[in-house]
Structure formats: structure tokens, C-alpha cells
Symmetry: C2
Subunit: 236 residues, 2 copies
């Protein structure tokens, strides 16, 4: 399976005799923390306009933690890279393909799973949540997670992912993975505020964001609202 060339006959024999089954079995999984900012359709009518940061969860159909909600994830196949596992799992469990993902952290506590020792590499995935075509997964607002039974240590993984997202949204351009192609500055500011959990001053926000966006020349046309300029991400 490797392009590695043994240096001599002795090494060749060493490698042929090496049997993975002689060693303790630790499984590796990949879990995806898929974040999106979207309207909360589960709330009552008055709140329909309120957007929240939400995470994709899948109801488990098997033991352990049967009927609990878990991050979409799966076992890493013996001939499968971590990224391939992520792609396969997201596609199978959520129908999503090709969404932006980056590795978050690898969780290796010894009692994470009652089946066996399982180490999980968690990834953050970001998307424009208003155009998703989900399979078995559901969107759950981060603020509502405590109303759900969450499997394994996945609540801890989600918390860690939120910390990373808050840190990176300021210092990087990842926010645009959560936005549609075109947006107003108010819409962009709202997503920042929802992720950071705090209100931002519009003039300061505009100053900071100015170098990351460019004017499309178009204006919004919402009946009853003043037209706003429409922007898109500036590409270098």
C-alpha cells in the first residue's frame, strides 16, 4: 500500500512479517461539525425572522446512544484518507458534497465510546445554510442543544468548534463560506453578530470589512424598505 522501498532483504522480511493484528486495535472516526446561519423554522411565527447559528445533527439508529443526536461521522476505512471519510460521511448522512471543511481537533480520551477505543478527528464544515438539501440530518440552533440528547462527547466537540469559529471569523475570510454569493453589508454584519454573540457598531464593522468585499453595482428592491447596495467577496 506504500511507495516505500525497503533498504535491504532484512527490512523486506521485517515488513512482510509485520501484522497489524498483533497490536491493540484503536479505531479512527471522522466527525463533522457543520455550521450554518439560518432562520429558525422551529420557533413560533413571531420569531420566524430571527436567524441563529445552527449545527447539523443526525439521529442515531443503532447502539450505543440509540435515538440520541450525533454529529454526522463515520469510521475511517483502511484505504481512506481522513478527508475522503469526511466527504463520504457528509454525502451519505446529509447529502452535502464539496462544502468547505477544515480540521478542528482530534479527540482521543480513552472512554469516548463504549464499543472500543475510538479516536475522532473532528472537522468544521461551513455552508450557506439556506440552500441545503438535507437527507437524514436536522438543523439544531446552538442555543437549543440542551433540549436534545447528544451522543458521545459531541457536545464538547461542538463547543470547541464554536470557539474556533468565533476566533477565525474575525481574523480570516471563512465567513464567506456561510454567505450567499451576494449580500448586503447588514446581512454580513448579522452573520458576524450571530457567530460572535454580540452586537457590533456599524461604522466600525464597515471599516474592518471594507477590504474584504466589493460592490456588485446592484441594489436590493424590497417593497417597503430603502434599497441597499449589494456586495460580494473580493477575490485577490
Amino acid at each position: 500500500m506504500s511507495k516505500y522501498k525497503p533498504s535491504c532483504e532484512e527490512e523486506k522480511i521485517f515488513l512482510e512479517k509485520y501484522d497489524a493484528k498483533d497490536y491493540p486495535s484503536i479505531a479512527i472516526t471522522v466527525d463533522a461539525v457543520v455550521f450554518g446561519v439560518r432562520r429558525d423554522a422551529t420557533e413560533n411565527y413571531r420569531k420566524l425572522d430571527k436567524q441563529t447559528i445552527q449545527v447539523l445533527l443526525v439521529k442515531r439508529e443503532e447502539y450505543p446512544y440509540k435515538n440520541y443526536y450525533a454529529l454526522p461521522g463515520g469510521f475511517v476505512g483502511i484505504e481512506e484518507s481522513l478527508e475522503d471519510t469526511l466527504e463520504r460521511t457528509l454525502k451519505n448522512k446529509t447529502g452535502l458534497t464539496g462544502i468547505y471543511s477544515e480540521q478542528l481537533y482530534t479527540f482521543g480520551a480513552i472512554d469516548r465510546d463504549p464499543r472500543m477505543r475510538i479516536v475522532s478527528s473532528a472537522y468544521i464544515s461551513l455552508l450557506d445554510a439556506n440552500k441545503t438539501n438535507l437527507k437524514d440530518a436536522i438543523w439544531v440552533p446552538i442555543d437549543a442543544l440542551d433540549k436534545y440528547d447528544i451522543a458521545f462527547d459531541h457536545k464538547d466537540i461542538i463547543d470547541e468548534a464554536m470557539n474556533r469559529l468565533r476566533g477565525k471569523i474575525v481574523e480570516s475570510d471563512i465567513v464567506f463560506h456561510m454567505m450567499p454569493e451576494e449580500f448586503t453589508i447588514s446581512e454580513l454584519q448579522e452573520v458576524y453578530e450571530i457567530v460572535l454573540g454580540e452586537k457590533l457598531l456599524a461604522p466600525a464593522f464597515r471599516r474592518v470589512i471594507a477590504k474584504k468585499i466589493e460592490d456588485t453595482g446592484k441594489m436590493t428592491n424590497n417593497a417597503g424598505h430603502r434599497p441597499s447596495r449589494i456586495f460580494r467577496q473580493k477575490k485577490d
Copy 2:
């Protein structure tokens, strides 16, 4: 091995029957990229004063990559967390204990190792390299790595770790893990410059660093040099 309580008899039986050996074996290792800034004793006399950023490597005594240089690392034991593996490995191979470490990235390409599928969680470790008591490990300047045969994908891991270090030294306080307790501003600036690979303007550097350090009230006393103020990290 887990505190998990099965929900019913059926689940209890499911878990008892679950045999890790039924699944493909993937091993997990931990590899440490230990960085330090130190004088390069391997260079000629004229360069003795030049400090460089260096990484700790261990010469491999076993196949594969026998006699190549590798990051200190080892297999994660079935009852051992990733952090415990890191501690054990650093102690055994370098004699170092309790040094600052953070997870860098988990490398999972399928052909990383000719023995079997091995996924490695790499950590960055930082220390004041002038007070190290090493066992079998040697310090190698980053700039001199291409003079050494490096095992596995460890050169890629070191490159990734250097990128992370450069990014974090500006935005965080990790630099102080590489410094002695007390230092002059020139000494601190030199470490920044060595890590970033570029000269910094002293007034700008002093302005940025001012809020992270505090005056000890002491002065240097080097014969033939003007005395300099001695600082330490400011703790909140």
C-alpha cells in the same frame, strides 16, 4: 472501560459482542515537533553567536527508515490518551517533561508508513532550548533539515508546524515558552525575527510587545556593552 451505561439488555449484549478485532486495524501515533531557538554549535567559530530555530530529531534504530531522523513519537496505547502518549514519548526519547505543547494537526494519508495504516496526531512543543537535557535526540536547525534523511512524512509535518508557529507567534503569547524567565527586549525581538524569518523595526516591535511584558527593575551587566533593561512576561 467506559462510564457509559447501556440503556437495556439488548444494548448490553450488543456491546459485549462488539469485537474491535473484527474491524480493520489502523494504528495511531503521536509525533512531537519540539521547537527551540538556540545557538548553532555545529557551525564554525565565527558563527557561534548566531541563533537559529531548531527542531528535535531522533535517529531511528529500527526498520523502517532505519538510521533516518524522525520526530520523537510513539504508538498510542489502548489505555492512553493522546496527551499521555506525548508525555511518555518525549520523556523516553528526549528526557523532556512538562513542556508546553498543543495539538498541531492529524495526518492521515493512507501511505504514510510501510508497516501498516498509521494516522499520526502531531503536536507542537516549545521550550527554552538553552537549558535542555537531551537523551538520544539532537537539535537540527530548520534551515539545515535538507542535509538530513528525514523519515516518513516528518519533513511535511515540520513545515506545517513552522507555518503554525509563525502564525501564532504574532497573535498569541506562545513566544514566552521559548524564552528564559528574564530577557532583554533585543533578545525577545531576536526570537521573533528568527521564527518569522525577517527583520523587524525596533520601535514598532517595542510598541506591539509593550503590553505583553513588564520591567523587572534589573539591568544587564555585560562587560563592553551598554546595560539593557531586563523584562519578563506580564501575567494577567
